[in-house]
Symmetry: C2
Subunit: 178 residues, 2 copies
């Protein structure tokens, strides 16, 4: 991965269209990764992201204990790996090794970046008040990386039950919205 | 719009891929509509949706007062109207009239459905504890409608600053995820 630091003010444009993401954690010397689609932007800058992490998962335990994770955004070429990650548990296997994903050291959190992903967002948990009721964490993106060689990433978007849509045509309209 | 009731258990598949939505309200005899992309699924069934509604908007006021709204999902053919709705305020104009959107009576909430949208979700606010800090409302979808004549809706996804991606190719993978 060619890696370049990315302005935090532009992170919302990566997550707002709703891509499937991989979320990594590192806890007690154990790295893990899960597949995730239930996330939303909550603030532009600093970028805040709300996300639901299933309460039975190893990732939930790690996130609650360490308050750190990385959100990695895969392109459609990684679809098979994304599904394999979603179909398995870090309690049983090392998913990085099993599915050929390459962990890389980030700069501000212990959770690993994923070299194969076009964008990696280092995050810290800043609010856990909705965790008990909804398994909903509020994250602040503290450092963002993109692969500048990928201009129009073809992202994956889950429509349920293994049906995915990949991003299609791009259009530009005279919006005054951010 | 040909309208058919849609199972609540399948609503997540409409919102999970991150489409731009229109959100309608009705308050003090005034209907309004806004453009919105900051939403996430929070539970499968009953379907819960978290969404951020800017605190200065007429929609925010209406939602906080009435605790009801409709999330309408437009297809890419409506892109110009979606942007026009986002660029204007219901304090100044009747956006339904100005942009040729047709309000329709729903069944359980006073906020209108939008006839031109392929899916309409009647929602009630069930949790406002994150409103003061994040303008974040938790909604329960209480009734869902789809247009059964539209098989693979080409949805709009905002990448920021007026750049939109439209949904592309659909792929099916052997996922055990819901």
């Amino acid at each position: 991965m060619t890696r370049r630091s990315y302005p935090l003010s532009r992170v919302y444009g990566l997550l707002e269209p709703g891509p499937v993401v991989l979320l990594t954690t590192s806890h007690k010397g154990l790295m893990n990764v899960m597949t995730q689609s239930w996330h939303t932007m909550m603030e532009f800058e600093p970028p805040l992201v709300g996300c639901v992490i299933g309460g039975n998962s190893l990732s939930f335990e790690a996130l609650r204990a360490t308050h750190e994770c990385v959100i990695s955004i895969p392109t459609a070429e990684l679809a098979d790996k994304v599904v394999a990650v979603g179909n398995s548990s870090g309690r049983k296997i090392d998913k990085f090794h099993a599915f050929g994903l390459t962990p890389q050291q980030g700069s501000l959190v212990a959770a690993p970046l994923i070299a194969e992903c076009h964008a990696n967002l280092e995050c810290r948990v800043i609010d856990t008040r909705m965790v008990n009721r909804y398994s909903f964490f509020v994250l602040e993106v503290v450092k963002a990386w993109i692969d500048p060689t990928i201009r129009e990433p073809r992202t994956l978007h889950h429509r349920g039950r293994g049906v995915f849509m990949t991003s299609g045509e791009t259009i530009k309209l005279p919006s005054r919205m951010k």
